[in-house]
């Protein structure tokens, strides 16, 4: 019986009752009589325990009946719902993890010079900490490549974030002899994929430009997977989940 009353009723009992024997009485009565939380509260307020006395009841194996209020309470218990429901946020996080692993593996196997630096790579900017999804160093292009993965539809703020990471890595991580950092943003949402590249524009004193794949300088293109390869990977992950 202890496990057959809703958490809400358990809380009510320990908040109102200071004696364990009395508390157990109410647990039993709840199940025997199929009380909802409201009815239980009423019975406690009117001191059923004192009125009925602490008569030892028959500890039958009683389960909530179909018709009772307790049954309805259990069916509608919000604690159950949230206990069992995988929230949208958790689902997204899960999928992003898979995306990260998949893309990492793909790039390493590509054989174009991607060297893995880390997942959730820590960047300390001022007093705050940030983590990039993936950081690689490209041994042929001699630059860092930071990758942001989103299992969501493209939002402009993602590019902003990517640019921020590129600047941070340029300032804090890269060696003066390294070439400017390149950023890649991969967004995947159901049937849509978005691939964006970003790197420091040599013509601008500060700031980073976004490029579509076709606009990238040739030498950089050579070091990266083709657009087809990247979208193929994103597509591939989708069928994994169907």
């Amino acid at each position: 019986m202890f496990f057959n009353i809703p958490w809400g009723s358990h809380i009510l009992i320990i908040q109102k009752i200071k004696n364990t024997k009395e508390a157990c009485f109410y647990i039993e009565k709840t199940v025997e009589n199929n009380w909802s939380r409201a009815v239980l509260e009423y019975q406690i307020e009117t001191n059923l325990y004192k009125r009925q006395g602490s008569a030892v009841t028959n500890f039958k194996n009683v389960l909530p009946e179909i018709q009772g209020d307790l049954a309805n309470s259990l069916l509608k218990d919000p604690y159950h719902f949230e206990f069992l429901t995988l929230s949208e946020k958790a689902k997204e996080k899960d999928l992003e993890q898979k995306l990260v692993q998949h893309i990492s593996q793909f790039l390493l196997e590509l054989g174009k010079g991607f060297a893995y630096m880390g997942h959730q790579y820590l960047l300390k900017v001022g007093s705050k900490e940030y983590r990039t999804d993936l950081l690689f160093y490209h041994t042929k292009l001699k630059c860092y490549i930071v990758i942001e993965l989103k299992y969501q539809e493209f939002e402009p703020e993602f590019i902003g974030k990517l640019n921020f990471y590129i600047s941070a890595i340029n300032e804090l991580v890269k060696d003066p002899n390294d070439n400017p950092t390149i950023g890649i943003l991969l967004c995947k949402n159901k049937d849509n994929y978005e691939v964006e590249f970003a790197l420091k524009d040599v013509n601008k004193p500060i700031g980073v430009s976004e490029y579509r794949y076709t606009e990238l300088p040739e030498n950089i293109k050579l070091g990266l997977p083709t657009l087809e390869q990247l979208t193929q990977q994103l597509k591939y992950i989708e069928t994994d989940h169907d």
Partner: protein, 148 residues
């Protein structure tokens, strides 16, 4: 098709089917509730144990709440307030003793619990009152029978 709805045999059958669905729903929700309450009890016992034996200080519930809610954001059951209630509730119904049963002179029955949580040595959980129906696989009844 004649008016099936007025056919008595059909009505009776339909009634029993509806009752079956409701029974199933109740069984399912009772199971879910049981899982949740057992989870809370186990959590309560572990929290109490860590407060006594770890060097994390006694205020790690705030951090724990934050971390659990990051993983399970939709669960209000992991709010700091609720974790405190879980702890209070566990202490209310149970005493966690680490001595063998025979050395305690509790007038009530004793439930010896195999390490449900990752506590190192064998633990005994003593219910202050007959809690009844604790015939879960996690519990081994050491002394008197709990109930039928």
């Amino acid at each position: 098709m004649s008016n099936l709805v007025s056919d008595l045999a059909y009505k009776n059958w339909l009634y029993t089917l509806k009752e079956n669905v409701k029974k199933s729903q109740i069984n399912a929700s009772v199971s879910v509730n049981k899982e949740l309450i057992m989870l809370y009890l186990d959590l309560g016992i572990q929290i109490i144990d860590k407060q006594q034996t770890s060097n994390w200080g006694s205020n790690f519930l705030g951090q724990l709440s934050k971390d659990l809610q990051a993983e399970f954001p939709q669960m209000t059951g992991f709010s700091k307030r609720n974790l405190e209630l879980i702890r209070q509730w566990t202490l209310f119904y149970f005493v966690i003793a680490k001595q063998p049963v025979s050395q305690l002179d509790e007038p009530n029955f004793v439930i010896a619990k195999q390490p449900v949580s990752q506590l190192d040595e064998p633990n005994f959980v003593i219910a202050k009152q007959p809690v009844s129906q604790l015939d879960e696989p996690n519990f081994v009844i050491a002394k008197q029978p709990v109930s039928q």
